[in-house]
């Protein structure tokens, strides 16, 4: 996890690249692509469940971003701007083609610090959670992932998916409620025992 100083440094570097890219520096834009490619692809990949389509949409997003770079307002969130373009590309593509693929592949990197029984239970929990994630309506899943993965504010999420902040919050709320309601009690208990690497405990009393 980045320290605040590192994050600030990265933020400043990114601002520099954005400014340079807007001035026509292609190399600066290529750096922005390198920085954001994986997280954008991950979000799109979970949304479409198709790695080929995810790659295609990721590329399309960056090409559109390059074409519309002059319209980006410096000082605003570049990542959120990219996700908005990606969301538009996703919606356009879904209108054109309806493609359903299989579920998310199993995790091949279990935690070595756990016992076999714990691992089996954790793996089952993970599989069920991820399967339930895929049953969410697209709008809810998009908002939930932007909140959890990207830690974007509800206002930023609202901007990306073109809705109000209240609706974005409601979608995230409904997504979590939907998932918990559909998970068996044993799995919900398993979630309580899951480690949360690198994340703050938040409201834990």
């Amino acid at each position: 996890m980045l320290t605040d100083t590192e994050a600030d440094a990265d933020g400043l570097a990114e601002q520099g690249w954005i400014t340079a890219a807007q001035a026509g520096d292609r190399d600066a834009f290529a750096r922005l692509v390198e920085v954001h490619w994986q997280r954008l692809r991950r979000w799109l990949g979970t949304m479409v469940r198709d790695p080929y389509l995810a790659d295609d949409l990721t590329q399309e997003t960056f090409l559109k971003a390059l074409a519309a770079l002059h319209s980006f307002r410096p000082g605003t969130n570049f990542r959120a701007w990219l996700f908005r373009i990606a969301h538009n590309a996703l919606i356009s593509r879904k209108r054109g083609t309806r493609r359903e693929q299989g579920g998310t592949p199993p995790d091949t990197h279990p935690d070595p610090s756990r016992t076999v029984e714990e691992l089996a239970e954790a793996d089952e929990t993970r599989q069920l959670v991820l399967a339930t994630l895929q049953t969410l309506p697209d709008d809810w899943r998009a908002a939930l992932l932007l909140r959890i993965d990207e830690e974007l504010s509800f206002a930023q999420i609202a901007e990306i998916v073109k809705t109000t902040e209240e609706t974005a919050r409601w979608r995230v709320f409904k997504a979590r409620q939907w998932m918990l309601d559909r998970l068996p009690e044993g799995v919900r208990d398993g979630l309580r025992r899951r480690e949360q690497p690198g994340k703050p405990k938040g409201n834990t009393p």
């Binding site: 295609d56 960056f62 090409l63 998310t104 993970r126 959890i148 409601w170 918990l180 480690e195 409201n203």
Partner: protein, 264 residues
Amino acid sequence: MTCESLRPQLLADPLAPLAPESAQHLRSCPACQALLEQLQGLDATIRTRPQTPEIGFAPTALLDQIRASAPVIVPRPRRPQEPSWLSRLPWVPLSGLAAGLLLAWGVWGDRTPRTQPTAVARVARYDLLQRQVQHLVRLSTTRKPAEKIEAWTNLSDDLRREVTALQQIAPAEELQQLQTLYARSVESGVVSLAANWPARGQRRERTLTLRRAEERLAQAETEAQALAQQAPHHARPTFEAMAAIARAGRDRLRQLEAIEEVAS
């Protein structure tokens, strides 16, 4: 503050700071604590989910194009196409069979007959070679299963007619060579193609093609059986064998049709 009023806050944003009275309720309520832990576990599970599988499409080409001063024209990730059933057929063995037919015929055709051939036999042999080449060209150029099956049927009919034409003059072993080629063209050509032709989307065409091939095999069987009664003594086993080959091929095609009827 009650569980009902705190629950929506936690579900919307489990990490958000709580108002003092909400925090106080949370500290004293095991149910809300359990919910918070479940939500944090849920988020952690989602956050640590596996990456979308890599398909070998790196953004390198895009980056190269972006860094170039020219307009960006990049390749799109290409999904591997599901191979058609035709491409899954053992085309190497089948091509080998076709080439074998041609080669065998070339070798056989060049040999000096032990008995003086008639003019009809000479013409027939020359024509057969020409027709075999035409069949092979047809087989290599068409992609339609119906046309391929027809080409194999024509090829096998030509072989059978050749045996008929040469029954008086060709020795038994040479007739048996033609018989072997006939068997391969029926079994590995006509029947194999028919067996591997999926009916979906082409059921009517498939049925018609199979029935045509079936009729021609039935006719071949009848003719071979009749010739087995009339042919010179040394040629009779060849005709009997060819009748059996044609019958087996016809039966197999009927079987395939019956399976399709049951399936549909």
